[in-house]
Symmetry: C2
């Protein structure tokens, strides 16, 4: 099978249109039934598969970078009678367990990216719901800041997964109903058990949508609301967007190469090495100079390449159980670029939040991550974040004999103290030192200094330090040991250990909701020969084992 490609661009979209009208963009969902990832199913009624969501993610991203003047985005349907029918059920019924899980993870990340655009980028989303809006369709609307529903007696919102399919709304629906929309739990229970959903004023009263609008006033009301949302934005009025040029990558058997990121795959051992390279040149002299570099600005290029590499690993390389993080380059170059990211500028803000989202993709990726800090590596500032995102790090003490590379070092930067909060709302350093919060403040004094092994260890920044003569053995034993464990137990263990501290709507979605959905995705009542997901659309009723677990 062809690997799934997460790269796209508007000229190649088959399912979405971006229509821009000044400060308002319309993101129009108009799914091509024949445009799914597989010919096994048709994407009828604006139902979606991963191919559709890859375009949506791309569109959300480009609206932020390429269209600084866009301050409000209207999500609407290009079809009559249906807003969106949700994830395609035939696709779900045929998909492997791994694909279902990865599909839900990615769609969840896209919905969160929409919320991130509003919270951090001054780009508000408005869901203009006309026609039926079911399951994943309503979950898409839930990601918006404001939901408008036309009052035409047939436009409804619904989460029919439990009654129809024997699974959960798996893209944040349950959590957003209770925690974002704050629907009363007994009403949520009724709503999530009601196949046909709700409409009209009752949908407003139950907090499922923000307003209903008569058909005759629809277009005008949507426009007015979009401009009202736009008016609250802090996006620049006269800035020039940055074109996200095509992402070049070369794949050849067991290597994937980008300009700043490389991936080497050892499938037999289940290990990938992801190398991130620092900038080739010194940082641009000013924010304006950074703008002039466009998509070539190193932190932006890094974010795009790192994201693509992680998504590629997840979707196309299930045999890889462990990813080694390596870095190369010059710490000063990284810190220089980081300094620009801290500037008060719309593009620097976008790049910062993009890197934040990419690092969060790592946090929810079910692979073990190990950072190797050796002579010549460049774990500084933004790149040091990979050490704190990893499940473990191993650091070589000093330099290697007969090697002219400088001693292994970690260099902290301002980026590690607030640029990249995790899903739990804390920085990785704050999460790391929950048991001793003053440590984090203490670390600020070390910003910019290359910290060698003994100091990094004493400061709690690395998991273990190893003499150069023990390095190879120690590493081999660690990798072999990890490879001998149950991949499922590792997935569960990492999903728990990575998220200490507070829970947010976001961590609830990935922790509580996703874990339950994955459980249900394994159960015969959903995916067995007589299961509801398997039999949907066949005309045959599912047969359930009624035992409650």
């Amino acid at each position: 099978m062809e690997p799934i490609d997460f790269r796209t661009e508007p000229g190649r979209y088959r399912h979405w249109r971006i229509e821009i009208d000044g400060e308002v963009a319309f993101l129009v969902m108009d799914v091509d039934p024949a445009g799914g990832l597989s010919a096994d199913y048709e994407l009828k009624l604006n139902s979606y598969d991963l191919a559709v969501d890859i375009e949506l993610n791309d569109a959300v991203q480009r609206l932020r970078f390429e269209h600084p003047q866009v301050r409000a985005v209207v999500l609407k349907s290009g079809k009559d009678n249906v807003f969106c029918a949700g994830a395609n059920i035939r696709m779900l019924g045929k998909a492997t367990h791994g694909h279902k899980v990865n599909f839900c993870k990615y769609t969840n990340e896209t919905r969160l990216a929409i919320e991130d655009a509003c919270a951090n980028s001054g780009q508000a989303y408005l869901a203009a719901v006309r026609g039926s809006c079911a399951g994943g369709g309503y979950e898409l609307a839930l990601a918006a800041d404001h939901i408008m529903l036309v009052d035409d007696r047939r436009s409804t919102v619904s989460l029919p997964e439990t009654p129809l399919l024997g699974v959960l709304p798996g893209t944040g629906g349950l959590t957003r109903v209770t925690d974002k929309r704050k629907v009363r739990r007994d009403r949520a229970d009724v709503f999530c058990s009601t196949e046909e959903g709700l409409r009209g004023v009752k949908a407003v009263e139950w907090r499922l949508v923000d307003e209903v609008v008569p058909n005759s006033k629809w277009d005008e009301a949507v426009k007015t609301k979009a401009h009202a949302l736009a008016a609250r934005s802090d996006r620049p009025l006269d800035a020039k967007g940055i074109k996200l040029t095509p992402l070049a990558r070369r794949m050849n058997g067991d290597a994937v190469a980008y300009s700043h990121v490389g991936l080497d795959l050892d499938r037999a051992r289940g290990i990938a090495t992801l190398t991130a390279r620092g900038p080739s040149n010194a940082a641009p002299a000013s924010v304006a100079a950074a703008h002039a570099q466009g998509a070539g600005f190193w932190p932006l290029a890094l974010a795009r390449e790192l994201e693509d590499a992680i998504l590629h690993l997840r979707a196309n390389e299930p045999a890889i159980g462990l990813v080694i993080f390596r870095t190369e380059g010059d710490a000063h170059g990284v810190l220089g670029h980081d300094a620009l990211l801290g500037e008060n500028d719309w593009l620097m803000r976008e790049v910062r939040h993009y890197l934040k989202r990419v690092l969060k993709r790592i946090d929810v990726t079910s692979r073990s991550f190990v950072a190797l800090i050796e002579p010549g590596t460049c774990f500084a500032g933004t790149l040091a974040e990979l050490v704190f995102a990893a499940d473990r790090s191993l650091m070589l003490i000093g330099a290697r004999d007969g090697d002219n590379k400088p001693p292994a070092a970690v260099t902290l930067g301002e980026a590690n103290f607030g640029f990249y909060p995790m899903g739990n709302g804390l920085t990785r350093l704050e999460t790391r030192f929950l048991g001793d919060p003053p440590c984090v403040e203490g670390l600020r004094a070390k910003v910019g200094a290359p910290l060698q092994a003994d100091e990094a260890d004493a400061l709690g920044l690395v998991t273990g330090t190893v003499e150069s003569y023990d390095w190879d053995d120690e590493l081999r034993v660690m990798l072999e040991e990890r490879a001998s464990f149950s991949p499922d137990a590792l997935t569960g263990m990492e999903a728990n250990l990575r998220f200490a501290g507070p829970e947010t709507m976001e961590t609830k979605i990935f922790g509580r909701l996703t874990a339950w959905q994955n459980w249900i995705f394994q159960r015969p009542n959903a995916v067995g020969a007589q299961g509801a997901l398997k039999l949907y659309g066949s005309g045959v009723q599912a047969t359930f084992d009624k035992e409650r677990v």
Copy 2:
């Protein structure tokens, strides 16, 4: 098979001893290998099954009620060389999925009951760990406020589930390591992957235990620490304990009868009706009079019976998918008893917290709950909490023709405003009205007034109201519809919708950790013919499907 009986008493213990020395109690784990629930396995090395935990739960409970003078409890082993080897693996390997899940749920509740005793009852727990303390054994220690480890080169703490068994430490271990002990996540990763565990000063440095003590000073140090913990207690010095007399219950086919609680089972339809009856007499005139009633004091009797009924349903009636809550009795009687529970008295405090824990057992029970509010029911104060704990409630409007019972009503009491916080730290009313917090304050003005259907509905207290002539049809349709859904989807849906708002260590354990563990408990890598849990102890190595999901 005989139903699992959750009732026990110290005279019948086979696995634990309670040794009381003034203000300090020693809770000695000394598991009888032949005393498990089944003869299929031997409980070697202080490993445990549900039978062992039923006794532990009973002991924790009795220490609070029967021994007010006990201010510190020392958890220790009665065996040489081993503190506790954790859950018995042969038992887990042979258990059904449902039993494993229920077993973990119950042990989690017991560990939380230990933490509740410390947080709310002035009874501190000290884990005195001597010998190996592995898996569930360390999870038991983690429930204590203070963990002491003997420094003898062979006493270790460990969570070897992932490396040895391909599952997670399922009784809160991962969450307590990161969120209670606040172990750095990379160290937690190393610790949870290290079969042999950690010992000595490193265990302290990594925050896994609070102190290590040389063997020669062990007994003295444990005693000294226990008294130091006791000194911080606010428990009364001269109070008389309340004997938890044997809980009488009659079972006959499809009915279970207690003095204030009844359970009627309709297994063919998958429905149980749980009836809770208010007190037969007016409330005692004083706290002292309540003490004199002992275990017969209505709220205490209710808590014990309700708890036993819920546990019985969970463990022994898997065909029951839905539980109807009914109540009978006199609202004044309930509110009168509730008023006593609000008094500043050690026993009233114990009863209040006990009812809180029983209601929390409902919150995590994977059955649908529906409260039916009809003429003659008594949903007042503590009993009204059943309406708010239910997934839905249905209320009859007014009275029934030709019926002399008063109109259906809900009566709020002080108990609904703080006696019984959920696992998320909020009351059920606060959780219910997250979308409109002022509602809760507004409801205070209604305390004591019987609220009939229209008013209860307007105040948001019930899900739906129904005219008497529609009642039977409406109810039948609702019950049939619920019964037609996938029980797994309902379990997942309820586990999400019931816990809106903040997450705590407790909700994380039941939400995130448990959901992941249940997923892993289904996976072939754990429970398939070549799975790690299945093959443990057989000498044959597990074979894993290495694909990461």
